[in-house]
Amino acid sequence: MIQKQKQLLSIRRPLLQPHASLLSAVLCMTAPGAHALQLASNWQLNGFIAQSGLYSDGNNYFGHSKNSLSDDFFEAGLVTSAQFDNHWSLAAQVLSRKAGDNDDGSPGLDYAYLRYRTSIGPNLETGFRLGRFQLDQGLYNATRDVPFTRPSVLLPQSIYGENIRNSRFAHDGVQWYGEQLFDLDRLRWSIDYYKPISDGDETSDIFVVPVPGDIDGKWSWSANVAYEWNDGRGSIGLGYDKWRNSYKLDSTDVINFLDDFGSSTIVGALANSAIDQLNISPAERQFARGLIQNLNAQTLQQLLDAAETLFPTVDLSGYINSFNISGDADISSTVLSLEYNWPRVSVAAEYMWRDMETSKFDFALINTRFRQQGYYLQTVWHVAERWDLMLRYDDFIYDADDRHGDEINRLVPGVPLHRAYAQDVTLGVTWHIASDWMARLEWHNVEGTAWIPASENAENFPQNEYWNLVAIQLAYRF
C-alpha cells in the first residue's frame, strides 16, 4: 500500500490541483445557499462498506476460516467524481480492504484519473483517461470491489482471482476510448498504454508456488472492445492485455528457494546450466555432468560443497554467488465475455486464457511458458422484488498442459496435485433489504485448490482437495 501512495505523488501535476479545489467545493457545498466553485460545479461522493464472514471445511481462505468463522474480509470505499465542464472530469476511489493475508486493510488509492471526452456528432463519443484507472476487461473488473455491482460475495476466481487482484485491478498510464451509438446498439472500445502497479507481491500473485525474485513492471498495453445490443440488454466483449515485467533473481534467492522447495530435477538442471557457463575444458565438463547424475544431491548447497571438494581450482560457488539472473516475465491474457439480461433472469459467461511466459534468462530452465485457462457460467434469477438467486459453475486450470497437477508435483515435491485446478459450484442468495442495504449468503462447493493464495495455509499449501466455503456478507452504500 505504501507503494501505491508513492505512485500517487508521481501522477502528473494537474491532478493535484483539482484535489484542492474539490476540497473547497465540498466545504462550500455543505453551507446552504453558498455558491460552489465553478471549477468543480458537479461533484459527487458515494461510498460503500461491507463486512463478510467466511467458513470453510477444508482449507483456509481469507483468514482462519478452516472449521471456524473468519471475519477477515472487510471492504470499505469512497468513490468521487467531479465534472468540470463539458470535456473534463475527474474520478477517484479510495479503498480499504482486509482479505486475510492478501490485503491488510490500510487505505489505498485504487484509481484516480482525469478524463477528457468529446463528441463527434450525436452518436460518437471519444476521449482519454490519464492517471491510474481500472483495467476495463471482463464484466466485473472495473467495479470488482463494490459489493453492489457484483453478483456474489466472491467473484468467479478463475478470472477475477484474488491472487492477482492487487496488480490487475488498475494501472497507471493513458487510455484512449470511444463509444459509437447505433439505433439500439452500442460499440465501445479502449486501448490502454500503462505501467503496472508493483506492490512487491507479484511473484506470489502469478505463481502458485511462492517463487522468489523481484518483479518490476514495464510499459504494457491492453485493448478491449464490446458490443451491446437491444438497449444494452445483451453484450459481448473481447479483451486482450499484455502485461510485461522484468523479473530478477539473485543467487541467494535461488539457493534458498531450492533448499525449501527444490527437487533433484531442478537442482540437476540448474547445475547443468551452470556447468555450461563455466570456463572449463570439455573433459572436465563431462566429468562434472556425470558427477551430478551420480550425486543425487537434493540441495544446491550439497552440490556446491561436493563440487568444491572435487574441483578446488574452480570457484563454482563464487561464480553462482556472483550472478544475477534477470529476464522478462510476461502475461498475455485474453478474455471473452457474454451477458444477456432478460427482465427477471440474467446469464453471463466468460472465458479466459492467460499465457505466462518467462524469457531471456541465461538459464534455459527458467525460460518457460505455460497457459492458464478458466471460464464460468452464471445465472441470476430475480425471484422477487427484493430477492435474487445465483447459480454459477467456475472452472480454472493453472497449466493447460498439466491438468491434473502431475508435472508441478514432480518438479516441486510437496506441492499437492490439486493445486493445479479448481472447479467451483456456487449457489447464492441476495436480499436487497433496502435501497442502501444488502445481505448475501453463498455456498461454494469446490474441487481443487488452484485459486487459494499460497500464504493462507500453514504448510504453504492448502491440503484438502474437496472443500466447501460458505460466505455471508452485509453491505451498506450511499
Binding site: Q44, N46, N86, A91, Y111, E179, P343
Partner: protein, 161 residues
C-alpha cells in the same frame, strides 16, 4: 394502448398537433389507467424526445442537451410505484435493471447517479430551479413549473404524421 383515439384526431397541422396532442392525451389519461409524463424545466426548448434519447438520458449516457446545457436527471424514490411505472412504460426496463446500470456507472467513476426525491413536489421544485433538469411524474401531478415533453412511442409518432 394509450392512444387509440389519436387516429381520430382531424387537425392536420404539425404546429397545432404539438399543443393538442398532449391535451388530448391528458384527456384520455383521465379515462384510462394513470400515466407517467416526462417533464423538463420550462425554459428548455426541447418538446419531444425519441425513446432512444430518453433511454440515453436516464441511463446517464447522454450528458448534454443540444444547446450544451448539462442534463440533470431527477427521479422519484426507486421503490415507488411511479418509478416502477416510469421504468416499465417509458424505458421498457425493470427498476432493478436500471439500478444496476446506475451502480456500474457510479462505482466505476464514469458516471453520476440521478438525484432522488421522495415526492413529486420536491422533484418539481428542483426541476424549476435547474435549467438542464429532466424528470418524470404522474400526469395528475402536472404543474406549470414543469414542462411536459412528448415521447416518441410508435403510436405517438403515427399520430403526429
Amino acid at each position: 394502448m394509450f392512444f387509440p383515439s389519436c387516429f381520430l384526431c382531424p387537425v392536420p397541422l404539425r404546429r397545432t398537433l404539438k399543443v393538442s396532442v398532449p391535451i388530448l392525451l391528458a384527456l384520455l389519461m383521465t379515462t384510462q389507467a394513470w400515466a407517467v409524463d416526462i417533464v423538463v424545466n420550462p425554459r428548455n426548448p426541447v418538446a419531444r424526445l425519441s425513446r432512444q434519447e430518453l433511454l440515453a438520458i436516464f441511463t446517464m449516457r447522454q450528458r448534454n442537451w443540444p444547446d450544451g446545457t448539462p442534463i440533470v436527471v431527477l427521479v422519484q424514490n426507486p421503490k415507488s410505484e411511479t418509478h416502477a411505472k416510469f421504468c416499465k412504460d417509458l424505458l421498457n426496463l425493470f427498476p432493478h435493471q436500471l439500478q444496476t446500470i446506475w451502480d456500474r456507472l457510479v462505482y466505476s467513476g464514469s458516471g453520476r447517479a440521478p438525484i432522488e426525491f421522495d415526492t413529486a413536489q420536491a422533484l418539481i421544485e428542483k426541476l424549476a430551479a435547474t435549467p438542464g433538469g429532466i424528470g418524470y411524474m404522474e400526469s395528475s401531478d402536472s404543474d406549470t413549473k414543469a414542462k411536459t415533453v412528448v415521447v416518441d412511442t410508435p403510436s405517438a409518432a403515427a399520430a403526429a404524421r
